[in-house]
């Protein structure tokens, strides 16, 4: 079926079956490959995007249910003070190793900081524990979130 969606401020129309997860629409149909596939069952967070500002796992979000007006934001499109601060903090201490999960980590971190500009360790753990990293860059993610928070305050 034909489905309308708005990604990073741009309207798109795609022809897919209605149960197609948003993840594969982004990657295969719109060429936005920054959002990654890791498990397909909402366990790893590599596919995290924002829908109306809230973090969502694109791998289990059927595209037909998103709605044409919903604002879908991916790693390629996430902007603003918080996103910039997070990216800077990530680069400043080289958080990523292989980088594969980091789009999702960044999307979760931005959502966390938008909601809680000054998270403590427990809040960071709670906000970020849906995102797996097999390189185990957790120490640096935690520290970069704190430094991004500082930059924003």
């Amino acid at each position: 079926m034909s489905i309308k969606l708005k990604v990073n401020g741009k309207q798109h129309e795609v022809e897919v079956s209605e149960d197609t997860p948003l993840l594969w629409v982004l990657r295969d149909h719109l060429g936005l490959t920054g959002t990654k596939f890791g498990c397909g069952v909402a366990q790893c967070g590599a596919c995290t995007v924002h829908i109306d500002g809230k973090p969502r796992r694109a791998c289990v979000t059927p595209v037909a249910g998103v709605g044409a007006q919903a604002e879908i934001t991916t790693i390629e499109g996430v902007q603003g003070e918080v996103a910039n601060a997070v990216r800077e903090a990530w680069v400043e201490i080289d958080v990523p190793q292989c980088g594969y999960c980091q789009s999702g980590q960044i999307m979760s971190a931005v959502a966390l900081l938008e909601q809680n500009p000054n998270p403590d360790d427990d809040a960071i753990d709670a906000g970020m524990s849906g995102n797996l990293c097999r390189c185990a860059t957790y120490m640096r993610i935690r520290s970069a979130i704190k430094s991004a928070a500082k930059a924003g305050s």
Binding site: V16, S17, D19, T20, P21, W24, R27, D28, H29, G31, L32, T33, G34, T35, K36, F37, G38, C39, G40, V41, Q43, C44, A46, T74, I75, E76, R87, W90, V91, I93, D94, V95, P96, Q97, C98, G99, Y100, C101, Q102, S103, I106, D121, I124, D125, A126, M128, S129, G130, N131, L132, C133, R134, C135, A136, T137, Y138, M139, R140, I141, R142
Partner: protein, 766 residues
């Protein structure tokens, strides 16, 4: 190279001469200039150091460095570039990287064994220095001055007076210079290094934070189809009956392709099964779910890993084949005042890179070009050639970024699948492994059982150790039925036992493989270090001594060991013992450094405990101290982890620290939760709910790393941090609770995350 709609040119420029490249011609062009293969740099230590293999100076000033090793998070792009740029005297801001395809001229490209820096350090320095020398000589010739009067720095050569020219301006002239010999080169003395040994930022991270860069899964070609494979549940199982009607009815599904059934040895051949080819990934996944397949289960259908564990432990308790003998262990046991023994078990593990295996292939006549996230591109090339019955030169293997490797992507079975399916359908195919494929159809870290015995004299001094190890060897992947541990696996923590005991005996027992066995980050060191370093703490406890003090006493005085003196075959990770000795002084030193960093001996809150472990692997030394906190219900936290690494000369201190952090937590994740089990020959864990990885909330709150300053030759970095982690954790749990962990994982996946404290008496094991 043909047009690629989605590929990042920067990464895939390899194999091409372009007009912008004025010096440093690419492979296969057959042109001369700096590519002069007649030059004297083809056989320097580590391989061919011909500058053109690695360096291209472009007209706009870009210094394009070719990285022949796979980037999988270890920051090898950055470290290889640092080594070259150091000697080239390049302006770092002008450095750009291109990934090499698989080609024998680069020498070894197997990005495993923690050896990218170890094997390329000298060679890449020579390549950089040779290019710098040619630029200086070109400048001297242009200005009519002596080469000694010209000096390169920051991509500019300056001469006497006002003479000055950029590398880009000199490139054409430099290309006409004869290649210098190694003897003519002047390598920079260590004290003048400004890139090597420094915290140089990653060359990949700025792209990663924008969602840019091309991983294996990101490859898009015009007219490309996507395939997923229904793999047989057991290794060597095959399709008995296929009904693909429902699958073909799924919109988007184009066709199915039968893959050849696997016959032994398994090597890097595809597992067989049925590929579903579709216009997009989701259609392929839905199509696969709609397949009706009856499988012929084959010879491994009887494999039950729980039962197998007991069999292996039984084998480990019986006398085995003696592989190393020093003194007389039986006599030592007989004469001992105290004798202890312990059995250890470590299960199968899956490497589980966050990016599962992915490969894209496109045929043009009888030639195939592939884009693959592989650690071993030359191996990939040859196995594709073999499977497709074409010469190797007809296969091009472009290496994408790897979303993690950890040994899984050293095995290119999935690339062969892509090539076979693409040939069958006559269009480019991206073959995608889902997480279920990755977990259920992998090359698993070997399962192991070990039995250790120790003899203590009346003063508590250790006088003898017996170490018996049993595991299906990795060789079973290459030779059908091979069941005897190899010398290469034994040198990973058994025959290189560093303890200063007069009586030492190593024995092995056989164990056949029923799943594919393969390398996983730090390989056999994982289970051997777990057993040996746990046992060291058990000996300390039996002697009534402090773990750390007793460990240092076991290690004994600074000396250099040679396991060959005690009858072992020993290859020292491919290095000479003269250059890379087994140095107990360096081993003891990292123990002291880690202990100091952790504040060993400090007063701890109730329920807390410290554990320590040390291990030499991949010719580097790492010690780790872990603090645990265990509450009355047995819930475990890890407040802190402190490590010290002596990897000799290091190239990038920031990324070495990151590897110690990541390698330690990778191992802790496996020790806490990691277990692959099989029933009826089929792996039971399907996805992350069942194969559990450490999450942020389970990571330690504090972590610190000391890099021991050293001018010894470079050792490994990616793997050595992993082995000490599990025993340090087990020793910390014992210190906190008296519960001795001898069987991993500690919790597993379906667990309530409670240590069984109720059952605990002093020294009780779990």
């Amino acid at each position: 190279m043909t047009s690629l709609s989605k590929l990042n040119r920067r990464e895939f420029l390899s194999g091409l001469g372009t007009s912008a490249l004025v010096l440093g011609l690419a492979l296969r062009t057959g042109r001369t200039m700096a590519d002069a293969t007649a030059g004297g740099l083809q056989e320097v230590r580590g391989g061919d150091a011909t500058p053109a293999l690695f360096i291209a100076l472009e007209e706009d000033g870009t210094i394009r460095i070719t990285c022949h090793r796979s980037e999988m998070g270890q920051q090898v792009w950055t470290s290889m570039a640092q080594i070259i740029a150091e000697e080239l005297e390049a302006d770092w801001s002008q450095v750009a990287i291109v990934q090499a395809p698989g080609d024998a001229r680069y020498g070894d490209q197997n990005t495993d064994g923690s050896r990218s820096v170890r094997w390329n350090f000298h060679r890449l320095r020579v390549a950089g220095a040779a290019m710098r020398t040619m630029l200086e000589r070109a400048a001297a010739a242009r200005w009519g001055v002596a080469p000694g009067e010209c000096r390169a720095a920051q991509s500019v050569v300056t001469g006497p007076g006002m003479y000055s020219a950029t590398y880009a301006e000199l490139a054409q002239d430099a290309a006409a210079q004869p290649l210098p010999t190694e003897a003519e080169l002047r390598l920079k003395p260590r004290e003048q290094w400004r890139l090597i040994g420094k915290e140089v930022p990653s060359l990949t991270v700025p792209d990663i934070v924008q969602g840019q860069g091309t991983f294996g899964i990101d490859v898009q070609l015009p007219d490309m189809l996507v395939a997923v494979v229904a793999h047989p549940p057991q290794v060597m199982a095959s399709v008995a009956k296929l009904d693909d009607k429902a699958a073909l009815a799924v919109p988007g599904v184009v066709r199915t392709v039968r893959l050849p059934a696997l016959d032994g040895p398994v090597l890097f051949k595809p597992l067989g099964g049925v590929a579903v080819v579709a216009t997009d990934t989701w259609s392929a996944i839905r199509g696969r779910a709609a397949l009706k397949i009856e499988w012929e289960a084959g010879p491994n259908a009887g494999y039950d890993s729980q039962q197998f564990a007991e069999t292996m432990l039984e084998t480990a308790r019986q006398p085995g084949t003696v592989r190393l003998r020093r003194g007389d262990v039986d006599a030592a046991m007989g004469a001992s005042a105290t004798r202890i023994e312990a059995d250890y078990y470590v299960p199968h593990l899956s490497q589980t890179p966050m990016e599962p295996p992915m490969a894209t292939a496109r045929w043009d006549g009888d030639k195939v070009e592939c884009w693959v996230c592989v650690q071993a591109p030359q191996r990939t090339r040859s196995v594709i050639a073999q499977a497709c019955g074409i010469p190797e030169e007809n296969v091009t293997v472009n290496v994408t970024w790897l979303g993690g490797g950890f040994g899984r992507k050293s095995k290119p079975d999935f690339a062969v699948e892509a090539a076979l399916v693409a040939r069958e359908v006559g269009r480019p195919v991206k073959l995608t492994w889902t997480r279920e494929d990755d977990l259920q159809h992998g090359y698993y870290h070997s399962v192991s059982a070990q039995h250790l015995e120790g003899a203590l004299d009346a003063e508590g001094k250790c006088t003898g150790i017996l170490h018996r190890t049993v595991f299906p060897p990795i060789g079973s992947t290459f030779v059908d039925g091979l069941a005897t541990p190899s010398w290469e696996e034994l040198r990973q923590g058994v025959t290189d036992n560093p303890f200063h005991v007069p009586n030492l005996q190593v024995e092995t027992g056989d164990a056949p493989a029923h799943v594919r066995i393969g390398w996983l980050r730090s390989v056999a060191n994982i289970y051997h270090a777990f057993a040996v370093q746990s046992f060291a703490a058990e000996l300390a406890h039996a002697a009534g001594r402090d773990q750390k003090d007793y460990l240092l006493e076991l290690i004994g005085p600074p000396r250099q060991l040679d396991p060959r003196n005690d009858g072992a075959q020993y290859d020292n990770y491919g290095e000479s013992l003269e250059e890379y000795p087994i140095d107990t002084g360096r081993l003891a030193n990292v123990v002291r450094e880690a202990a100091a960093l952790a504040g060993w001996g400090r007063e701890l809150p109730a329920g807390h405990g410290l554990g320590i472990a040390v291990h030499r692997s991949f010719v580097s030394y790492v010690a780790t101290v872990i603090e645990v906190a265990v509450d009355a219900e047995g819930r475990l936290r890890i407040p802190g982890v402190w490590s010290a690494i002596d990897a000799g000369t290091v190239v990038n201190t920031r990324h070495v620290t990151a590897q110690v952090e990541g390698g330690t937590l990778y191992a802790l994740s496996n020790a806490l939760y990691g277990e692959i089990t099989a029933k009826d020959g089929a792996v039971e864990q399907a996805n992350f709910p069942q194969f559990r990885l450490m999450r942020m909330k389970e990571a330690p709150r504090d972590m610190a790393v000391t890099i021991v300053a050293s001018d010894a030759p470079p050792g490994g970095v990616g793997e050595p941090p992993s082995p000490p982690a599990a025993p340090a954790l087990a020793n910390a749990i014992f210190a906190a609770t008296g519960l001795r962990i001898r069987r991993l994982p500690i919790f597993g996946s379906g667990s309530d995350d409670r240590l069984p404290l109720d059952a605990t008496r002093e020294g009780e094991s779990a």
